[in-house]
């Protein structure tokens, strides 16, 4: 070991070889330390990163006031004649009152002059030739759409009215331009009286309107638009379908809303009653029920999907009601109050549902605004009022803001940080009453066909599935691996052991995707056929071992050779293979003896268990196989590392090998076996491919051995590719990953500490 260098080199000559070497040494120390720390840092970095991605799930929503402009005074306009709206980027909003519309840009709040074309539409809609003296007395926003309105007039007409935001791109800069159009008016109150309350909905085949006239009569109208006959006629013909609803008490209605599908109509009265009509047949609307909300109902709204209804009252209470159909009885749905939200100080004036989730905004007479989320049952934000009643409000289309108009004429926009309203600790880990269910349940169903779907983020079913797979796999793997390790370490000849141990450890190298494939495509269909034989094996193999073992004692020892040799191992294999083979041969007979000729029927009738092809038993075998080598190898190591002089001492003192094993070896190696089991547990819990491929991945919650389940890991693999970056599902899957990370870390740390202790103890001898 010499350092060869040429002293003639000029650089070296100047700084000296010794210095250079010292620098190099220092530099290397620095680089290695840095590299070491970087690697170690990245390990902790993983945990930190997972944590950072999960935390926003539990942020409480926050708000800030963005714009507040004084636009006019409104005291003389009744609230049922006012609405506000804002576009999806919160850049452009409008105020609609008495049929007038004015637009404002945000966040500066400057009014923008209306283009002549817009004006003319407004003018025209107000001065339609056939109702020149008509005056707008009520307006209603069409549910499920952002800026579609119906205007009700004092002569019983309804005018459809549309605000759209036309977006154009010019040099990659977005320009938004408001466009206003009015539709064909129709007669909604046949007696020509003034419309006091209006519910309006736009459908593909024409609008539907429910109107309460000044004299207190309730009419339901649908305009049936159909393409007029004739091959070339393209104009549509419309026909009015109309009925009067004459149920007792309709004259007391103070609020009226239609659902998004146009199937039900809801009315609230001043004396606190809730009317619920079925209007699928426009000709004959049918009252399905009257419910009591306690006090005077001042605001009503459906939530997206039409199954949940928000009821606001004069006392400021906010509650969600749900339409429930009894699964046993069937028939009409009934309404049931399921959740109360924290109440307002005064009467609720406006409810604005979100158009993308189950959130909604409520506002009250003293100017207070609150945001709630139905599924999680929480009030996300409460903005205190300044005393003037809110006349109209809109929850921003992207649920990231709100536009509010109060009766002092202030138009306010709020910026809302509200990324994950549906996830709270309790909505993730406790049962939740979801739409369409009878009782609170743990459900995981993250995505549905449409926006109306209520995402169900109960983590329990998946955690339960993880637990189920782990338990069954460990039940199978533990005895095989630990007993095998005991035999290998204590009774096997060293030359046999030198072959057996690496062979079993080869199994650890099997890619789990291979085990999953075999389990799902080979073993699962096979097991379905030979289940009776497999069930019999669990009984017959131990029995066969006992019988042959006893018989073996009578054989002359010349034949047996020393214990733990190849002969003995071959006998074990023969016993095992022979019993397995006979069970397989007798499969149909076993099925008829044990299971009344059909095990599926037997399971169903005796225990009420259904048999799925890809079930927990398949997983138990496959995951058991994946984890046996791990447990086997570590247990075997700790068993064979028991200091030999201890064993020799025990044997020398006259203990039999059996006594030495039970009283000394197993006890002193038990921490090692324990840590082997812990490491095995950690491996099973996070196993992905086997579970993904060999279960049906259905997130059900029962311990049935014969059906599938979904685990945290498989859930990540299934749903992550479809989860939008930064969304609630995305973060929830990070939470699943974090749970796995934390669990396996705890288990492995425990195992490692136990192992280090054990090593220290052995080294004392």
């Amino acid at each position: 070991m010499t350092i060869t260098s040429s002293p003639s080199s000029s650089l070296l000559a100047r700084i000296g070889l010794r210095t250079l070497r010292r620098w190099l040494d220092h530099g290397a120390r620095g680089v290695i330390t840095l590299g070491g720390w970087a690697t170690i840092f990245s390990i902790f970095g993983i945990f930190a990163y997972l944590f950072i991605e999960v935390v926003p799930l539990f942020y409480t929503a926050s708000w800030s006031e963005e714009t507040a402009v004084q636009i006019d005074t409104f005291s003389e306009v009744p609230p049922q004649n006012i609405s506000v709206g804002v576009n999806e980027y919160m850049e452009l909003g409008y105020v609609l009152r008495n049929g007038d519309i004015s637009f404002y840009t945000f966040p500066d709040g400057t009014p923008i002059p209306l283009a002549p074309s817009v004006l003319s539409v407004v003018e025209r809609s107000r001065r339609m030739p056939d109702f020149e003296e008509g005056e707008i007395t009520a307006l209603a926003r069409s549910p499920g759409k952002q800026h579609v309105y119906g205007f009700g007039t004092n002569i019983g007409r309804v005018i459809p009215f549309y605000v759209t935001f036309r977006v154009t791109f010019e040099d990659d800069v977005r320009h938004t331009e408001p466009v206003v159009t009015a539709g064909e008016p129709f007669e909604a109150a046949p007696d020509g009286s003034s419309i006091a309350r209006l519910a309006y909905r736009e459908t593909d085949s024409g609008p539907i309107a429910a109107v309460l006239t000044d004299p207190g009569r309730l009419f339901l109208t649908k305009v049936q638009e159909s393409e007029a006959g004739g091959l070339f006629a393209l104009e549509t013909e419309s026909e009015l379908l109309q009925a009067e609803i004459t149920d007792d008490g309709v004259d007391a209605l103070s609020v009226l809303v239609l659902d998004d599908l146009g199937e039900t109509l809801l009315g609230g009265t001043k004396d606190g009653r809730l009317f619920y009509w079925d209007i699928r047949d426009i000709w004959s609307p049918r009252l399905m029920g009257i419910y009591s909300a306690g006090t005077s109902i001042t605001a009503l709204s459906y939530l997206i999907g039409d199954r949940s209804i928000v009821v606001g009252t004069e006392r400021g209470t906010v509650a969600v009601w749900m339409s429930v159909i009894d699964p046993d009885v069937g028939g009409d749905p009934r309404l049931e109050k399921i959740r109360d939200f924290s109440p307002h100080d005064g009467a609720v004036t406006t409810i604005s549902p979100s158009l993308r989730d189950k959130g909604f905004l409520t506002a009250d007479v003293s100017g207070g605004v609150a945001l709630h989320h139905s599924t999680s049952g929480q009030t996300l934000i409460r903005i205190p009022g300044n005393g003037s009643a809110v006349l109209a409000a809109m929850f921003a289309p992207k649920t990231d803001g709100a536009l509010v108009l109060d009766n002092s004429g202030r138009l306010i926009t709020y910026d809302v940080e509200n990324e994950h309203p549906e996830s709270t600790f309790s909505s993730l880990f406790f049962p939740v009453l979801y739409e369409g269910y009878e009782e609170p349940l743990h459900i995981w169903q993250s995505t549905g066909g449409s926006d109306e779907f209520e995402p169900k983020f109960g983590l329990w079913p998946i955690m339960f599935g993880t637990l189920k797979g782990t338990i069954y796999a460990m039940l199978l793997a533990t005895p095989l691996a630990v007993l095998g390790a005991i035999y290998t370490a204590m009774f096997m000849r060293p030359n046999v052991r030198a072959v057996v141990k690496p062979v079993v450890e080869t199994m650890a190298a099997f890619p789990t995707v291979v085990l999953g494939f075999l389990a799902g495509l080979w073993f699962a269909p096979l097991l379905e056929k030979i289940f009776p034989a497999v069930a019999a094996m669990f009984l017959l193999i131990p029995l066969a071992v006992v019988v042959i073992c006893v018989g073996w004692q009578f054989l002359p020892s010349r034949l047996k050779g020393t214990s733990g040799n190849v002969t003995e191992l071959t006998v074990f294999m023969l016993v095992l293979a022979g019993t397995t083979w006979s069970c397989l041969q007798l499969n149909p007979q076993i099925e008829s003896w044990l299971f009344d000729s059909s095990y599926k029927g037997w399971l169903q009738s005796s225990f009420g268990l259904a048999y799925d092809q890809r079930n927990a038993l398949v997983i138990a075998f496959a995951m058991g196989m994946a984890v046996i080598p791990t447990i086997f190898s570590i247990s075997e190591d700790s068993l064979s590392n028991v200091p030999p002089h201890l064993i020799a001492g025990s044997l020398a003192l006259g203990a039999t090998p059996w006594q030495t094993l039970t009283k000394l070896v197993i006890i002193s190696a038990s921490p090692g076996v324990f840590s082997a089991l812990m490491i095995g547990l950690g491996r099973v819990v996070g196993e992905t491919m086997i579970v993904l491929m060999a279960t049906g991945n259905t997130p059900v919650m029962d311990m049935n051995l014969f059906n599938g389940f979904r685990t945290l890991s498989a859930n990540i693999a299934v749903e992550m590719p479809e989860a939008p970056h930064g969304g609630t599902l995305y973060r929830l899957l990070f939470l699943a990953g974090l749970l796995l990370f934390v669990f396996t870390s705890i288990v492995n740390t425990l195992a490692e500490i136990v192992r280090q202790r054990l090593r220290a103890r052995y080294s004392q001898f």
């Binding site: 095989l480 131990p542 094993l661």
Partner: protein
């Protein structure tokens, strides 16, 4: 007697027997699984004999015999054993709908292996089993009859395969190159626009180039059409065993075999040819047929990139922990952390890789360096680089632990001797310790590679795809395309076995892929074990 029983029980022999049975069970499971994979995987390449059966109702069935079983619940007093049925791969998916068919043994009137039936491997619809009625060129019949047709067909198939190769070359290489350049100029124009340097002359130049490339493109497409027409020039009229006819362009046939007419050596030869073609060919029919070469290539590439990433970090960390750090609580905690990392489920690494590498790092790279391609992500989506990095994180504990083992096996005297001779610590590390620890490092690397080869779950989130349009390595600058998605043997198994529409027909392919994967992993593991043994021996010998 009861004494003997008592003695027998207290001797624990019975318990020992149970322990022994547990070992035997584990061994049988390993052996069984290996055997299962070998039989199914290796059997795939053998040219199976074709059986032609006449059924009692007069119809005939032609196909490969794929097994026999007792019909469930068929045991009757006359047949206490139950009736049996055989499973045939009858192919001709376009005519029959299904590739497989069960035939009850009692319905078979006679069975035979005629020498003149042939198996045609087609580019679409799987195999065709049957005979040739005529071979024609356009409308003109060139050869009629099975024997004549067979003779005429052989050179035609070879010709068609050559043509097919030419077409593929044209599509992939020539037209692929042009597309690549067109995309390049498009991005260049966009880049100039974004930078605000889009002076008209340069843009016009680029646009001229694009249109020139497009002209070339159209020219090649014309050639391609001509070739395709040529491919369809000859057609063959096939007839299945019941006389149903099917006309097929010769270009649709990959190869035609008469397995019943082959002797043993021909079959062996064919066996290895089949084996090679699976390893070297591109997949067809949604990966269920053809070869697995892109998956092998992708796996190898990914593992190589991972190795380059994992070795320096793992070795540095191990040297730090073992040679430089002060042994104490911190190092103990770090060791536990490293061990924990080895126990963290692989899917968690996938989640981390997706969030950190793909979205955070990749997204930033896109914004900084590839704004012209946005909103199409370049690095901000899964790719081979991110998958490799994710697996590098996953396997870094393996390298650390193994290198540490290697370092701890280096006798203390070596260090002391080196230092005593005046070497600095770094010099003795570099010249003495590192060479001695090299087998340990290599063992770690091999184990890491073995683990990475078999790992699928994290890849599913970080860039593996069922069918990659282009390999991550090609002749376009910069040759290595780290951002590209890739195919992987393990994912291939998952995808073909569980997401293809015709799982039954895809099974052989899955078994073959499994065989290749398992062999690679086991060979890697065994070599790691061998290396470790060598290392132990070497130091045992030198320590004396």
């Amino acid at each position: 007697m009861s004494d003997r029983i008592k003695k027998f029980l207290s001797s624990g022999t019975l318990f020992v027997w149970f322990c022994g049975t547990a070992v035997a069970a584990s061994l049988l499971m390993v052996g069984g699984v290996l055997l299962l994979i070998m039989v199914n995987g290796l059997g795939f390449f053998w040219p199976h004999a074709l059986v032609e059966m006449t059924l009692t109702d007069g119809t005939r069935v032609l196909g490969e015999l794929k097994g026999e079983e007792v019909i469930p619940h068929s045991a009757t007093p006359e047949f206490p054993e139950g009736k049996t049925r055989v499973r045939l791969k009858v192919g001709n998916r376009d005519l029959y709908g299904l590739d497989f068919r069960w035939v009850d043994t009692e319905h078979i009137a006679s069975a035979d292996s005629p020498k003149d039936v042939a198996a045609f491997e087609r580019r679409e619809w799987g195999n065709f089993y049957g005979r040739i009625r005529e071979v024609s060129r356009g409308e003109d019949v060139v050869a009629t009859g099975n024997q004549e047709g067979w003779k005429a067909l052989q050179p035609l198939i070879e010709q068609a395969n050559d043509l097919q190769e030419e077409i593929e070359h044209l599509q992939r290489d020539v037209i692929g190159d042009i597309n690549f350049e067109i995309e390049g100029t498009r991005l260049r124009i966009r880049e100039l626009e974004l930078r605000g340097q889009d002076d008209a002359r340069e843009v016009a130049e680029l646009q001229a180039m694009t249109s020139q490339l497009e002209t070339q493109y159209h020219k090649h497409v014309e050639t391609l059409r001509a070739l395709s027409r040529q491919l369809d020039e000859y057609s063959v009229l096939l007839v299945e065993t019941n006389g149903q006819e099917k006309r097929l362009p010769v270009g649709q046939i990959v190869k035609a075999l008469r397995p019943n007419d082959m002797d043993f050596f021909e079959k062996i030869l064919r066996y290895f040819m089949n084996f090679w073609s699976v390893l070297s060919e591109e997949p067809r029919e949604a990966n269920t047929e053809g070869g697995i070469s892109p998956a092998i290539f992708g796996t190898v590439m990914m593992v190589l990139i991972m190795s380059v990433a994992v070795v320096p970090f793992g070795v540095l960390a191990a040297f730090y922990l073992r040679e430089y750090a002060k042994q104490g609580l911190i190092v103990r905690v770090i060791r536990i952390a490293v061990n924990n990392l080895a126990g963290v489920p692989s899917i968690v690494f996938g989640v981390f890789g997706l969030g950190f590498f793909v979205y955070a790092v990749g997204g930033t790279i896109d914004n900084l360096f590839y704004p012209e391609a946005l909103p199409t992500p370049t690095f901000g989506t899964g790719g081979i680089l991110w998958a490799s990095f994710t697996l590098a994180l996953l396997t870094v504990p393996v390298v650390i632990v193994s290198t540490e083992e290697g370092l701890s096996a280096v006798p203390r005297e070596y260090r002391e001797g080196s230092l005593a001779l005046g070497a600095t610590k770094f010099e003795s590390m570099l010249r003495v310790i590192l060479p001695c620890a090299l087998p340990g490092i290599l063992t770690g690397l091999i184990l890491a590679v073995a683990r990475a080869t078999g790992e699928v779950a994290p890849l599913m989130l970080t860039g593996v795809v069922k069918l990659a349009p282009a390999l991550p390595l090609d002749h376009h600058f910069p040759f290595l395309h780290f951002e590209r998605k890739f195919m992987h043997l393990g994912f291939h198994i998952f995808d073909v076995g569980f997401q293809s529409p015709n799982v039954e027909a895809a099974k052989p392919m899955v078994y073959v892929t499994t065989l290749v994967l398992v062999m690679v992993v086991i060979v890697l593991n065994l070599s790691a074990v061998a290396l470790r043994n060598y290392m132990q021996k070497k130091f045992k010998a030198s320590a004396v």
